[in-house]
Amino acid sequence: MIEQKTEIIFNREIARDTFLMGLRSPEIVARAKPGQFVMLRVRPGIDPLLRRPFSICAVQDDELLLILYRVVGKGTAIMAEASGGDSFSVLGPLGNGFALPDRHQQSILVAGGIGVAPLLFLAQYTRTGPIQLMMGFGSAAEIIALELILDRTMDFVIATDDGSAGHAGPVTDLLEARLNQDEFERDAASIFTCGPGPMMKKVAAMALERGIPCQASLEAVMACGIGACQGCSVKTSSKEGQTYFHVCTDGPVFPVMAIDWNH
């Protein structure tokens, strides 16, 4: 983990309200693993005060750190205004990444919207077993073109809430269909998910029901990102002992069975 000023190499809108930012940081790139994140200070000064957490979405040429982000509030709106040459203070890489799939496993990546970010880095990093990516978006305008981010092609399917592209309905429909296919081998499969809470909850339920290993990348409001403030708690499934994990250091990736999805 390091903290450094990094230069913005590019920052462009690649889908509705969705931006891809490239930051030059060979040091962080060298350390980065899929599922890890960075804390970004969106501008100097004291408002907004806190850093914002973003998953590492991909790396390029051993020096570019890619962040895929959606404009949802004050901080991301300021980020969207930044241009090449500006610089941001970045703290990272942070957290524990995904436990990587082994050679023989088929990985199913289930993404809700911007939740695709950490899964793309997983896909970029994992060059072993077969991967299928399922992505859900609100509508066609939000679809993220993978070729803008990944240097590999991959098998993917899309769902949109309004039916303007791909399957009309939630991305979990796609997962369900896949899991229910006759030829699906649950013993050799593993699910990775990131997206809105309710979506991940559904994915978790499907995986748990079928006994398929599943890891989810969670979000929580964070102050420090490094385990110091105890702010980013999430309820564990355990009935005794530790009631809360800290998303920043215990996660952000957790086996779905470790989490209490009713909170």
Binding site: E3, L50, V221, G227, C229, Q230, G231, C232
Partner: protein
């Protein structure tokens, strides 16, 4: 010029710090979290997360909300508890060459005493900071710190049970902080630290629910600095024991305001989240400020406020 010019060493009664920059409780974990980012020994001191007898899981999430130039937290004093602290944290803390202070919190006056007693003679712990001011726990906490006589009783109980210098940390959520400060001084405290957070709240207008699961939280960060500085100045005028200033300090200039107002040392809290290397930066900034102005010893600056 020698390395020790200007001299930043400060004495707070029995307690000496290599410089007046201390990391505030709850914002610097157990120190270890920041080890990869800086040389911790550059700091004047580190105050670890508030410690209770038994481990505390803390409040349900969300525990944090950003506010204008500040943040609300309702951590609920989540901490590892005395036993784990002694076993897992103390050995590593003992390797540091900076003052380590343990912030303690009890549900009752007796618990404060028990904690103090358990830390008696523990090497590597330079002092206790008694938190009678946390707004985020149901029982005790702030209720203690808003009453002068209860504040005094907690102080006495801790003093009875320890061989270490005792710093009492005051809450700003009171009408007259000077009154509490004097009561704690009379009870025998070696130093005071202030302010803890101001109690605040935020509402999500869509769901109409509180933004913190705990409803209320403690406001910290630059937003509260003017209030903190005022209280520190008032308390410095009210007592003879040394005062440690806390509240919204983001850089060496902010720190200097508190020192000039009469604080013998300062603590840095929320700023650690914004810039994890802020501690050493502030030390350096104070050093440069003194050097550029020919201030040989930080004591020449402390309390040099010129009233209007």
């Amino acid at each position: 010029m020698s390395a020790s010019y200007p001299d930043l060493n400060v004495k707070l009664g029995p307690l000496e710090f290599k410089n007046p920059v201390i990391m505030a409780s709850g914002t610097f974990g157990y120190g270890q979290e920041f080890d990869a980012l800086m040389d911790l020994n550059l700091l004047g001191g580190i105050i670890v997360k508030g410690l209770s007898l038994r481990p505390k899981q803390g409040n349900p999430p969300p525990r944090i909300v950003e506010t204008p130039c500040g943040m609300l937290n309702a951590i609920g004093l989540a901490n590892v508890g005395l036993e784990v602290f002694m076993k897992d944290k103390i050995p590593w803390l003992q390797t540091l060459d900076t003052r380590v202070i343990v912030n303690i919190y009890g549900h009752s006056i007796d618990e404060y005493g028990e904690l103090a007693n358990a830390l008696k003679g523990v090497e590597g712990v330079s002092a206790l900071e008694v938190n009678i001011s946390c707004p985020n726990v149901a029982c005790g906490g702030m209720a203690f710190g808003t009453d002068p006589s209860v504040s005094a009783r907690v102080t006495e109980e801790v003093l009875k049970n320890t061989d270490k210098p005792v710093i009492v940390k005051l809450t700003p959520n009171v009408t007259d902080i000077g009154l509490i400060a004097r009561a704690v001084e009379e009870a025998g405290a070696h130093a005071l630290s202030l302010i803890n957070t101001l109690t605040g709240m935020a509402i999500d207008i869509e769901s109409r629910r509180p933004r913190l699961a705990n409803t209320f939280g403690g406001l910290s960060g630059p937003a509260i600095r003017p209030v903190a500085l005022r209280m520190v100045y008032q308390v410095v005028q009210s007592v003879d024991i040394p005062v440690i200033g806390i509240g919204g300090i983001m850089d060496h200039q902010d720190a200097l305001e508190f020192l000039i107002a009469g604080a013998k040392a300062i603590q840095v809290g929320t700023a650690n989240f914004v810039n994890p290397c802020v501690g050493p930066n502030i030390v350096e900034g104070i050093r440069d400020f003194c050097r550029e102005r020919g201030i040989a010893h930080i004591d020449d600056l402390i309390g040099s406020f010129e009233p209007a």
